[in-house]
């Protein structure tokens, strides 16, 4: 099998899905690039990060559609196209731009099926880029997928490996519900073995990124990569960490989390999002409510602070949950053998 980066497999998967199904279209800002330019180059960009490169040449400008800067219209049009038989893949360049099109995501495409009594399907995939790490400053670096996870009717995908990126994107495009597919900027160059053939990975099935016995770490997106690094490191010390990458925050594979915590009795949750109402809080609360009896120690959350992402690179690095912080949270939870207050009944 070839080694491919996440960037490569996303591009490959888009092409494969477009070949497979003529109803799949791609739209967004500069997904081709160069329209109205003076050079006559037909594809001057293929997306700001090159993710959609080559698609226009193969599928033409009626399936690979450059739009003005108009996110509400992009998502709305994707929704309308989906209601009328297409399977649009809309690009929201940065997840930070969700603020200019949230209504179309939250009140429109995510609600159509429900509010129309089950009589419509809205197979929209929104591809977007998230995360800190590039010094892009407070309006281009956030990881605000938890607010999207709270939206009923929307599915939220967070690939952390190249293999997963391919299978999950194929699933997203073939899914009859709206999906937001969150690509972490800092993971585009992450690579791994990926088959050339198409395949799908079901939503709501976690990946066990690292097996372990002593403690469970649930980590999303880039944090799963960090957590796995930490698990490998601690393994050498004989500390056995189980890393669970849920891959989709909605639907969430609760079973995998419960199974692991049942085994380990200890939980750390890692999330690059801001702490309030995060997926870290969601997972921690889930276990505290549904698997409390398994817990042998307090849960620990490792998240970004309750601040925007600062521009300064060192501050930004301090902002992002680091392997070091994950490691110390793990040690803290392992050290804390809670002696729970005896039930007084």
């Amino acid at each position: 099998m070839a080694i491919k980066t996440i960037r490569e497999v996303i591009n490959e998967t888009l092409a494969q899905e477009m070949r497979r199904d003529p109803r799949v279209i791609v739209l967004g800002e500069d997904v081709t690039g160069g329209r109205g330019g003076s050079s006559g180059v037909d594809e001057a960009a293929g997306g700001v990060f090159g993710l959609t490169a080559g698609l226009a040449a193969e599928f033409g400008h009626k399936r690979v559609i450059d739009t003005p800067i108009t996110e509400s219209a992009i998502i709305g049009a994707a929704g309308g196209a989906a209601l009328t038989g297409m399977r649009p893949v809309a690009e929201l360049m940065f997840i930070d731009f969700v603020g200019v099109c949230l209504d179309q995501i939250m009140n429109q495409i995510a609600k159509f099926r429900y509010m129309f009594g089950g009589k419509a399907t809205t197979p929209v995939t929104i591809r977007t880029m998230m995360g800190a790490g590039m010094g892009a400053g407070p309006q281009h670096s956030s990881a605000i997928y938890p607010m999207l996870t709270s939206i009923p009717g929307l599915k939220v995908v967070l690939p952390a490996t190249a293999y997963d990126a391919k299978g999950l994107l194929a699933t997203a495009i073939r899914d009859d519900d709206p999906v937001i597919f969150c690509e972490h900027k800092a993971l585009y160059t992450e690579s791994g073995e990926v088959p050339d053939e198409e395949y799908t990975i079901p939503f709501g099935e976690a990946r066990i990124a690292h097996e372990g016995e002593h403690i469970t770490v649930v980590a999303f997106s880039r944090m799963a990569v960090f957590a796995t690094q930490v698990a490998r490191k601690l393994a050498k010390e004989g500390i056995s960490v189980e890393v669970i990458d849920p891959r989709t925050s909605s639907p969430l594979d609760e079973g995998a989390i419960f199974d692991s915590v049942e085994k380990t009795g200890r939980l750390v949750v890692v999330d690059e999002a801001n702490p309030m109402c995060s997926m870290a809080s969601e997972v921690a609360s889930l276990v505290a409510c549904e698997a409390f009896e398994c817990l042998r120690a307090p849960i620990a959350k490792v998240t970004a602070p309750h601040t925007p992402v600062p521009a300064h690179l060192e501050l930004e690095q301090e902002y992002v949950p680091s392997p070091a912080r994950i490691e110390s949270a793990i040690r803290r939870v392992l050290d804390a053998d809670a002696a729970p207050v005896a039930a007084s009944g």
Binding site: K62, I74, G76, G79, L83, R113, F116, K155
Partner: protein
């Protein structure tokens, strides 16, 4: 003005009368407390929806507003199923989960009433994009209130339709008010149709109480759209007869205005006078339709009231295809 064949005129009258009767009945039922939620009536604007939709096929699409009953009827939604929905009953067009402000019917090309002002135009543009991308001759239309014409999403929809030259019609319904605020206040420049020029789009302003005027303008816009020549805008002026929502005391409107609107702004009377003068339809036909519709609405309202509620489990279904 093109001549309109009798069957079309008959059908147009049927739909306009159905809207009027439907809305008047809803008004009375709401006052009587039988209708849940809140409702926004379409009386006075019948010729806009019908004049536009008479040009559309089931495979053409419309996006609608919170004031959507008239659009649904004009686009051919089943009146009984609409009433079931307004009463939030099982078997309603949205199985009781949408209600008055969310009636939708994909089979009839009705993309949904929409309780978010300005949200439907981008969605309707998406339907036009479907047709354009697939190379069919389908068209899409968005109904947009005068108040909605100020919402950013609406301008974005116009621009996107213009850039891609989509088969799209923007039908502005200027009914004088956005909630309790007059169009002369809320609309900078005061000329809704005039804004289309900024997107390189032809626009006409018509008397929205005159079925013929709307039908005519829409005919040109649809022809243009089907021919692949791109989007158009129409501003149809037709004052609303009642309050913003049923129950609105309308302190912002003078008695004179309300009287004048009733006197000069009844699209059904105008239509009737015109067809009788032209001898295209006779009084018996029109009266027959009136009677037919009264019976129809009666029957469906009673059926809707008596219909079963959605089951409790309906709360949890249809969030996702498998949930």
């Amino acid at each position: 003005m093109a001549t309109i064949d009798t069957a079309t005129l008959r059908e147009a009258y049927w739909r306009m009368r159905a809207i009027r009767e439907f809305e008047e009945r809803m008004r009375r039922e709401f006052e009587a407390g039988t209708v849940p939620g809140f409702i926004h009536l379409y009386c006075g604007q019948e010729a806009v929806a019908v004049g536009a939709c008479m040009h559309l096929r089931d495979t053409d699409y419309i996006g609608s507003t919170h004031r959507g009953h008239g659009h649904c009827i004009a686009k051919g939604c089943d009146i009984g199923d609409m009433l079931l929905e307004i009463y939030c009953k099982d078997g309603g067009l949205c199985n009781g989960k949408g209600g008055s402000m969310h009636i939708a019917d994909m089979a009839k090309g009705m993309l949904g009433a929409n309780a978010i002002v300005g949200a439907a135009p981008p969605i309707a543009v998406g339907a036009a994009l479907s047709a354009w991308s697939q190379g069919t001759d389908g068209v899409a239309l968005a109904f947009i209130g005068d108040g909605a014409s100020n919402q950013g999403t609406v301008f974005e929809a116009m621009n996107l339709a213009s850039v891609l030259k989509l088969p799209m019609i923007f039908m502005y319904e200027n009914n004088g008010y956005a909630e309790f605020t007059g169009v002369s206040y809320h609309c900078g420049g005061g000329d809704i149709a005039g804004r289309a020029a900024g997107f390189g789009m032809p626009a006409t302003k018509v008397d929205g109480t005159d079925f013929y005027a709307v039908y005519d303008a829409m005919g040109k816009a649809v022809e243009r759209a089907r021919a692949g020549e791109g989007p158009s805008a129409i501003e149809a002026v037709a004052m609303r007869w009642y309050g913003h929502f049923q129950g609105d005391p309308q302190a912002y409107r003078s008695k004179e205005e309300l009287a004048q609107v009733r006197r000069d702004g009844d699209p059904l009377i105008k239509f009737r006078e015109q067809v009788l003068a032209d001898r295209t339809l006779d009084a018996d036909t029109l009266d027959g339709i009136d009677a037919e519709i009264r019976t129809l609405i009666d029957k469906h309202v009673e059926r809707a009231k008596a219909a079963p509620n959605p089951p409790k489990e309906a709360l949890y279904s249809d969030v996702y295809v498998n949930y």
